[in-house]
């Protein structure tokens, strides 16, 4: 069916193309600079009225827009603290445009608002911009991030996915939701990040240890989920996103509306909401029992900004109910083995939207207040945030009394004061302090998972960058202290024992970046990060559902510290571009589960695993090669390799991402003014079998890692301009060949295949109510 529609769409594109041969392949590069000192403006909103399309500048103040048709355009530049600029341009060929924006209050020329956001540190990173986010809309954050080289996913089937950066995940990755450390009990593969990707206009992944700016835990990397800046020019605008997924009959709707007041300049708000509901998903040949999902999210932002100061309030709510495949809950090792050895899913199912036990209900609420002031010293930012994470797990029980078997609450308050100081000679940089207060508690009668604890922490940092003409050196240092007060029920009569811990350590970064020629640069970064052992690693004493094993915490664990070295080079030529990143990361006291002796329970013998520490070395490379065949056709090849060693035992580390390769080709064409950005693309992904496994693998895990797999995805889409209203429409097909495969990092690999073909129809409708319409 989808093949036919692909053909028709392609034919349509070609037909229209031949009918109205008009030049629409121009590449326009827009750079936005400050009028007086020519500093790049970031982030600035570049809005093209005729296309109703907004773009955001990068840290160099640049936006690149492909496939622009010839014609006259009105371009708006909006950025905090600057005057709203409107320029009329005529495009007759590929061109570079430079816009200068001046400050709102001219009499304070020497003071200028730097950026809304803190610049990310100079380190290997990659972003998903608005267009890429739109192309993947409706998917979970974890699966979206897979588009970034070096990032893979870990999860429980299709419902729960979380990102893995260079082989590390969960508590070794830090997620920043609108600048706030996301504290949402990501204690295992079953705990996905509680973030609605629809609130982001950009998602950036910093690869490798990056603790210096963001604090502890950023050993594997950082994921920054960034909403767009609030509207500056008076008026209304918004966006509607709709997506329909065939595989689990999932519908997703997300809307956003924002307004800037005319009477109170600088006052603006944004409201955003998402609803998502899907049923059981389908693997080749079967429905998967109890894998439905339902999600309701919303957020509100209120901002007031003047040229030199401002304030912002943000509130977001994330609420999800999701089912876990019934067959993944097994009573004992024998049940697990039966499930593994069965060729068909042990629990037969039909399609339904109903969610039964085992299921999860998770809520995440975030309230944030921010004040900023631009002074002679620099830009001060004070951010306070309160977040509450509430997780309920409904296990399969003998008698369903309607209650959850786990009710976890995690309350976190964070405070950050940051100063982006003004340039001192050739030095620019930032300094700040961080505070965190946290409480975690169980409900009465809960099964023990994490003991109750209270934690306080603080940190201070300084990052400086020396910028010469064609090179820059960045150095940063940070000190953190974390205190834990834990109440753990122990022994046969579950006596509560109190434990107190103090952990502290240094984080740092030292980086060098050099621009060799106009189109060739390279960089080298050495960084150090650390994390305190988590309560689950120290105190868990019980069953790990789904894995049918008993996990034993270790109260004497030391913090994990990491040194990572990353070399990166980028080369851009006329026709092709190449990017190569090589990394090596040494992790001292790497915490992992080591198999121990079996334990007899009333359900039979179980494998017992103990949390223990070793020294690990993770090395690898990410390479990307892009070739531009002509103005319309582009191919991209990516490779991501990882070698993860256990140095103490001179062995491979378990559960590490296998090597991945991908190849994609995209044909883009703007046909006419009513039909722009027509595209058709195909992507192939190849993931090898993980053969680098520990020697004792067979005695701790069964079966061996799944076989290699090959997937084919395709997509086609266009932008239709209906009476000046653009509508972005696309149709994509994931796992086009309905391939039967399993993934090594998926906890359901023991039981069932990965999802089969998924056809997704997406609509994105941006709208704008022009202020010129008012009298």
């Amino acid at each position: 069916m989808f093949r036919i529609s692909l053909y028709t769409a392609l034919l349509l594109c070609i037909n229209i193309y031949t009918a109205t041969a008009q030049q629409c392949n121009y590449v326009v590069k827009v750079s936005v600079v400050e009028k007086h000192n020519f500093a790049p403006v970031y982030p600035a909103l570049v809005y093209i009225e005729e296309l109703k399309q907004a773009y955001e500048t990068d840290e160099q103040g640049i936006v690149k827009i492909d496939t622009v048709c010839a014609g006259a355009y009105t371009i708006h530049i909006e950025t905090a603290g600057h005057e709203h600029a409107i320029e009329h341009v005529t495009i007759a060929g590929s061109t570079n445009l430079k816009f200068k924006v001046s400050l709102l209050e001219h009499h304070l020329e020497e003071v200028h608002v730097t950026e809304e956001r803190n610049k990310t540190i100079q380190q290997s990173k990659e972003s998903l911009e608005k267009d890429k986010l739109n192309a993947a809309s409706g998917k979970s954050l974890g699966s979206m991030l897979q588009a970034i080289n070096g990032v893979s996913t870990l999860g429980n089937g299709a419902t729960i996915t979380k990102p893995v950066i260079h082989g590390l995940h969960s508590n070794r990755i830090l997620m920043l939701n609108n600048g706030i450390r996301q504290e949402d009990q990501q204690w295992g593969g079953e705990h996905a990040p509680n973030i609605d990707p629809f609130l982001a206009s950009k998602i950036t992944v910093i690869k490798g240890a990056a603790g210096v700016r963001y604090g502890t835990d950023a050993i594997g990397g950082v994921v920054l989920v960034e909403p767009p800046a609030l509207r500056n020019a008076p008026g209304w605008d918004g966006e509607l996103n709709l997506a329909a997924f065939s595989n689990n009959r999932m519908g997703v709707g997300s809307g956003m509306v924002q307004h800037a007041f005319k009477k109170v300049p600088g006052l603006a708000f944004r409201l955003q909401g998402t609803f998502k509901q899907g049923g059981n998903y389908r693997i080749p040949g079967y429905w998967v029992a109890n894998t439905g999902v339902k999600e309701t999210n919303y957020s509100a932002t209120l901002g007031y900004r003047r040229a030199h100061y401002g304030a912002e309030l943000f509130f977001s709510s994330f609420d999800t109910d999701l089912g876990l495949y019934r067959g993944s809950h097994t009573g004992n090792q024998k049940d697990l083995l039966n499930a593994i050895n069965s060729d068909v899913p042990l629990i037969p199912a039909e399609f339904t939207y109903d969610i039964a036990r085992p299921r999860q209900h998770v809520e995440h609420k975030l309230a944030k207040a921010r004040l900023y002031a631009d002074t002679r010293v620099g830009m001060f930012n004070l951010v306070y945030a309160y977040q509450k994470n509430y997780r309920q797990e409904y296990d399969v029980v003998r008698v369903d009394k309607g209650n959850a078997q786990l009710n976890l609450t995690l309350n976190t308050q964070t405070l950050n004061l940051n100063l982006d100081h003004k340039k001192i000679g050739k030095f620019e940089g930032q300094a700040g302090i961080d505070g965190i207060s946290q409480q975690n508690y169980l409900g009465n009668g809960d099964r023990i998972f994490i003991p109750n604890f209270r934690s306080l922490g603080g940190g201070a940092y300084l990052i400086e960058r020396y910028k010469a003409k064609d090179y820059s050196i960045e150095g940063g240092l940070r000190y953190d202290h974390r205190y834990y007060d834990v109440y753990n029920p122990e022994g046969n009569n579950q006596q509560v024992v109190n434990y107190k811990y103090n952990f502290s350590s240094l984080s740092g970064t030292l980086g060098f970046k050099q621009q060799l020629t106009d189109n060739w640069d390279w960089s080298l970064t050495l960084s150090r990060a650390w994390r305190a052992p988590q309560a689950s690693e120290m105190f868990s004493a019980g069953l790990h559902q789904g894995a049918a094993r008993i996990e034993l915490g270790n109260k004497t664990l030391a913090p994990e510290t990491s040194w990572s070295l990353n070399a990166e080079t980028k080369y851009t030529a006329k026709k092709w571009a190449a990017e190569l990143s090589v990394y090596s990361q040494y992790i001292n006291n790497y915490i992992y589960l080591q198999p121990g002796t079996d334990i007899l329970t009333i359900r039979g013998y179980f494998k017992r695993f103990n949390y223990t520490q070793t020294d690990a070395l993770l090395s690898g490379t990410d390479a990307t090669l892009t070739y531009q065949w002509n103005n319309n056709l582009q191919s991209t090849a990516k490779a991501s390799l990882l070698y993860a060693r256990d140095l103490t035992n001179n062995d491979w580390l378990i559960l590490m991402t296998p090597n991945r390769f991908s190849l994609g080709t995209k044909y883009t064409h703007s046909i006419s003014k009513t039909l722009t950005d027509c595209f058709i693309g195909i992507d192939a992904r190849y993931v090898t079998e993980q053969k680098r496994i520990p020697r004792n693998f067979d005695s701790i895990d069964y079966p061996r890692p799944p076989a290699e797999y090959f997937l084919l995805d395709a997509s086609i889409g266009t932008t239709i301009h209906l009476n000046k209203q653009p509508v972005h429409i696309s149709l994509s097909v994931d796992n086009m060949l309905n391939a039967k495969y399993r993934d090594y990092l998926d906890a359901f690999r023991y039981f069932i295949d990965q999802p089969g073909t998924n056809v997704v129809l997406r609509l994105n409708i941006p709208f704008q109510i022009q202020k010129t319409e008012t009298k």
Binding site: I347, A373, R398, Y441, R447, L543, I550
Partner: protein, 190 residues
Amino acid sequence: MKKVIYSIFAIAALAISFASCEKDPVTEPDVTEEELITTVRLIVTDSNNVEHPFVYKIENGFGSATQGTVTIDTVKLMLGKMFTYRIEVLNESVSPAEDITAEVLSEKDAHLFFLASSPSSGAGSITMSNGSKDNQNLPFNQTGTMSSGLAGSGTLTITLLHEPTDKNGNSTAATGGETDAEAVFPVLIQ
């Protein structure tokens, strides 16, 4: 203006530092493993109406880091005899002990006692028959009859299964379901 901003910063910082100093008491929850089973009891009644109880008990039941005291009785039966049996499941970690049998009985459609003898026939074997049925007239086997085989030793495995997919299955692999309890009794027939 700047002074106003600075004072806002200062007030906010103070307010927050006070807020975080305020110590909410960390509650110590009443943590009990829900639906814990520690004991499977097999009560065999001979033709003279004399009851012979056999106990399979793991003190900490399940989901604990340690097993506690383990009590496993050997099922000693006279050779070539007929008996009736009943199975009880208990939580003896609480006092008085909680009898879970009634709960299982009330949910009998979703449960199955699967009894397996090894060897299945001959010396040391036990043969089961007339197992009790659930409300759908499908096997439940909480009570039934047993006949002992020839003199010898073997094992009798009693598995309490939750939500089996096929109650007529002839092995736990075939019945499916999640194991709630698995008691492996040594058997001595003499």
